[in-house]
């Protein structure tokens, strides 16, 4: 399965919020502060274009900073997973 690398410009698109792969220490800290196991986080596919550009692997945790109409900037975390959910 070889799919073309996604266009890097999507990272700058105004509708694509800022994604960042957390370091192991950060990830552990986040999980601890939320009191959850990794699989209790929302998930994001490895095949997501942004995730592929970031080079994240299954098991990584991605931090997404996005603008929210109610909360100003809101931060969400996503666990990278290998299998996509039911199509």
């Amino acid at each position: 399965m070889s799919i073309k690398e996604p266009d890097r410009r999507i990272l700058k698109h105004r509708l694509v919020p800022e994604h960042r792969v957390l370091s192991f220490e950060e990830a552990v800290g986040i999980l601890k502060s939320l009191g959850v196991k990794p699989w209790q986080l929302p998930q994001i596919s490895v095949n997501d274009p942004v995730v592929r550009l970031l080079g994240a692997k299954p098991g990584d945790i991605i931090e997404i900073k996005r603008r929210s109409p109610t909360g100003g900037v809101s931060i969400a975390y996503r666990l990278v997973v290998a299998f996509e959910r039911r199509a």
């Binding site: 939320l34 986080l41 109610t70 975390y77 299998f83």
Partner: protein
């Protein structure tokens, strides 16, 4: 309560439920009888041995002993039977699973169509995944099935694979080069048998719980009689359950097939009988499957078989488990009572005597409870049952003569079932229960009459009116439930809604007109009148110095209203009447339409919908509920609002025909407007006909014409309305109602006094009816306003026949729309609730589901509770500035 818990405590806890398939061995093991005969009773009425009412199914008659377990009918759990099928049959509801199993495995060796190495690799991953990520394991299975099904040659035995065609629910074909060949259940079972356990696992099935070949029945379990009870009609005739009928049909077919097989009948007949058996068994499991002959009751009504028992609104799940009938509830018509608190509900004595609460007798309440017992079950407030705890005895007061003796013998620890009394808390509900305010806690107030009484101010949250609405009442019987309801569910706790930040409870209709009439700046009240009004509030107040001292002391309505406002309240806002001629944008307002409250004194502005109305965010009521607490708001609703009603009672508010009577001059003016519009539209139509009409960009010529006509007629109506309103007395009661927002709008007034205007269907002029015209009164193809549903008449002077017809047409559309919308939005609501019902905002502000999975990292992304906001905003900066300004000016003076 303790009495019941002690006696019926359940020592077992269900830890988990495992779903799987029954193996033929298990079915045979649990079966205590093999059913061979389709008839149920012998001629003498005794059950047929080896029939569907064989005594071995368990004891059901009173006094009968079960031949299997030796119990009577109370204790016997019932026993399964079995039907040995002459040939195997597919389980119809598993057709899709069977289909994917057949596709993913080899037709000869039964192995998964993947190489051994790949299988080992996948197995390793799958086992790990299954443990920690069960959801992902499911997804993996789907991918494995897809991957294996694409393989056209078995990697293990090199057998060529063929496509399989599946016709729901039970027919399978294999596409061989020489043509399609039907796969019989025997073929399918053979193939499924061959799949190795490990490979089954990779296909998402636990082979210990459900071997694939068990999806093909060889023996059918027959449920005990408790599952399919027969009923005896008054005539003495027995009626069997639908399941029994379906099973009898299965036996008939099975015996027929058996006899064909033993007599070496022609192959075709055997095939036919076998197929029929499959259909009948499929119908036994689900009688609504496609491509199946439905089993019916002597022609006509389809049988209710297994799936039908579970499915749908009245099925086991939705009808008996998610929702059940309950005890200690009541339902009756509601009617209004403005003089009870919004927290209360008026309960008829008759109902209060039936609904009961259990109270434990203590030294503190024993005297009170004795009184209930002395009253007995038929006199309110009384009692219906006494549980003597020491004697472990239940006494029904209905069959007791000597209440006095019972009262004497009462001792602490006994439990008494007493009538509902004033001060009890109950749940009150009106369907449809669309939001949490549809069920609220009310304090009982027992009164004569046969209806539930509610304060009018709680109509908005329930969306109730009194045109025959009924409501349900549920008694809370445990102290824990009662105090929980008092803290969380009481009406006053729901004045502010979480739906949008604002008050959902508040004035409507008469409350608003009343408030306006009270606080108008033309109104003054002498001591007598003030007393009359204020006394209705049932709240002691100190009258301030009258606004006018001589010739006699007079108070303003604003002074009266101020008596009930919090002392340090500061508020600024626009009235509803603040529009048109009465428009003001700041405190410099001569129209009395800008509300100013300083230190709890209403200094300026009338109170109307924008101050005290329900569902009006950021109004006076909202500010009080938010900043002074909900109980303060409730006090206001229970006192000031009664004064509003009283004002209305004293002054009167009514409408008459002459309120909407416009002078002849006005009618002439309106006629002129109509004539003018008609001319213009005729011109448009003429230009359209000769083709010189310039279409609106993006529209066809016809659409353009329609749009232009509609626009012109819209203008005509509003012009005509303005003329009428100009001539009407702006202080008549209709205008008071529409301007204050109590009821009605300018459009309604226009329709009554001036003209109804264009009637529409789906936003277009009316074109349906006959082929080329709407009614026979018009020429074919007539595009003029009156031929397409324009009504120049009004309600006061009456409509012409054609106008009335068009009005009815448009009115019907409205009715149809509401009927369709409610059912659709109801179903949408149901799906949303099912999806979201167990989401919870945890203490750390995250939103989680019942498995503690995180759904949202901060509730609403800002962690704000909307019911504690100013219409969604946690802080209202303008209000803060107003308050500071008010306080600083206070300091100056």
């Amino acid at each position: 309560m303790s009495f019941r818990v002690e006696r019926f405590s359940e020592p077992f806890v269900i830890e988990k439920i495992i779903f799987g398939l029954l193996s033929p061995q298990e079915i045979r093991k649990m079966a205590k009888v093999t059913v061979l005969r389709s008839d149920i009773y012998e001629a003498d009425g005794s059950p047929v041995v080896g029939g569907l009412r064989d005594p071995h199914f368990g004891a059901i008659e009173p006094g009968e002993r079960c031949p299997i377990c030796g119990n009577t009918r109370e204790e016997c759990p019932g026993h399964y039977g079995k039907i040995e099928l002459a040939r195997p049959v597919l389980l119809p509801h598993l057709g899709d699973t069977i289909y994917s199993l057949l596709q993913a495995t080899c037709r000869r060796c039964g192995k998964l169509l993947l190489s051994s190495e790949r299988i080992d690799y996948l197995l390793r991953i799958y086992r790990r995944l299954k443990e920690k990520w069960p959801r992902l394991a499911e997804v993996m299975v789907n991918n494995i099935v897809k991957e294996a099904s694409d393989n056209k040659e078995c990697p293990h035995c090199r057998e060529k694979q063929f496509d399989i065609r599946y016709i729901r629910p039970i027919i399978f074909y294999e596409r061989k080069p020489e043509g399609e060949v039907r796969l019989t259940p025997i073929d399918i079972r053979d193939r499924l048998e061959k799949i190795p356990d490990d490979h089954v696992l990779l296909l998402g099935i636990n082979p210990k719980r459900a071997r694939p070949e068990w999806m093909v029945l060889t023996v059918l379990p027959v449920p005990p009689l408790a599952v399919r009870p027969s009923i005896t009609l008054e005539t003495g005739l027995r009626a069997e359950d639908d399941l029994t009928h379906a099973l009898a049909e299965i036996i008939r077919q099975n015996e027929k097939l058996k006899s064909f097989l033993t007599t070496n009948a022609p192959e075709g007949m055997i095939e036919d009988a076998w197929l029929t058996l499959q259909h009948v068994i499929a119908a036994y499991i689900d009688n609504e499957l496609p491509n199946i002959y439905q089993l019916t009751h002597r022609r006509r009504r389809p049988l209710k078989t297994l799936a039908q028992r579970l499915k749908g609104k009245e099925g086991r799940l939705r009808g008996n488990l998610s929702g059940k009938r309950v005890n200690f509830s009541a339902r009756t018509v509601i009617s209004p009572d403005p003089y009870i608190s919004i927290n209360e509900v008026g309960v008829p004595v008759e109902i209060a005597k039936i609904l009961t609460v259990q109270v434990t007798v203590t030294p503190h309440n024993i005297e009170e409870i004795k009184k209930y017992i002395l009253n007995g079950p038929h006199k309110w407030p009384g009692a219906t049952f006494v549980y003597k705890i020491r004697q472990d005895r239940k006494i029904d007061l209905r069959y007791q003569k000597n209440y006095r003796q019972l009262a004497e013998e009462l001792e602490p620890g006994d439990i008494v079932e007493r009538h509902l009394i004033n001060g009890d808390i109950v749940l009150f509900n009106r369907q449809p229960t669309l939001h949490r305010m549809s069920i609220m806690g009310h304090i009982v107030r027992v009164m004569p009459g046969k209806t539930f009484r509610i304060n009018l101010l709680v109509c908005p949250p329930y969306n109730a009116d009194f045109d025959g609405d009924e409501m349900n009442l549920h008694v809370l019987r445990l102290e824990e439930a009662q105090s929980e309801a008092r803290e969380l569910l009481l009406v006053e706790k729901h004045i502010l809604t979480p739906r949008y930040g604002g008050p959902i409870i508040g004035g409507r209709q008469d409350y608003i007109s009343g408030a306006y009439l009270l606080t108008m700046k033309t109104e003054f009240y002498n001591l007598d009148e003030v007393s009359k009004l204020v006394s209705r509030s049932e709240k002691p107040v100190h009258l301030p110095e009258p606004a006018i001292l001589k010739p006699k002391p007079l108070w303003t309505g604003k002074q009266i209203a101020s008596l009930f406002l919090p002392e340090d309240l500061n508020f600024i806002g626009k009235s509803k009447v603040n529009s048109g001629l009465l428009k003001c944008d700041n405190e410099d307002c001569l129209n009395d339409s800008y509300i100013v409250v300083r230190s709890g004194k209403l200094l300026m502005g009338v109170l109307d919908k924008n101050a005290i109305g329900a569902e009006q965010p950021n109004n006076l009521l909202h500010i009080i509920a938010l900043e002074y607490g909900e109980s303060k708001a409730r006090e206001l609703l229970d006192s000031l609002f009664r004064v509003f009603i009283r004002t209305l009672e004293v002054k009167g508010l009514t409408i008459a025909l002459n309120d909407i009577e416009v002078p002849v001059d006005a009618m002439r003016e309106i006629e002129e407007l109509i004539a003018e519009a008609k001319r213009e539209i005729e011109e448009l139509i003429r230009r359209y006909n000769e083709g010189s009409l310039e279409p609106i960009p993006g529209r066809t010529l016809e659409e353009s014409l329609e749009l232009m006509i509609i626009e012109r007629l819209q203008k005509l109506r509003s012009n005509a309305g303005e003329v009428a309103i100009k001539y009407l007395n702006p202080f008549n009661d209709i205008f008071i109602m529409s301007k204050t927002g109590a009821r009605g709008s300018d459009v309604n007034i226009t329709q009554m006094a001036s003209m109804l205007g264009q009637q529409t269907i789906r936003g277009k002029r009316i074109t349906r009816g006959f082929r080329t015209r709407t009614l026979p009164h018009f020429r074919e193809g007539d595009l003029s306003p009156e031929a397409r549903g324009f009504i120049k008449g009004n309600f006061r002077n009456g409509l012409r026949p054609t106008e009335l017809f068009f009005h009815a047409v448009a009115g019907r559309e409205g009715l149809v729309d509401t009927a369709v919308k409610t059912s659709q939005s109801g179903y949408m609501q149901r799906r949303l609730i099912n999806a979201l019902q167990d989401l919870v905002v945890s203490y750390d502000g995250t939103v989680r589901d019942s498995w503690n999975n995180i759904v949202q990292f901060k509730y609403g992304e800002d962690g704000v509770d909307p019911s504690r906001t100013y219409h969604g905003k946690p802080v209202d900066i303008n209000r803060v500035i107003d308050i500071i300004r008010a306080r600083s000016s206070e300091g100056e003076s």
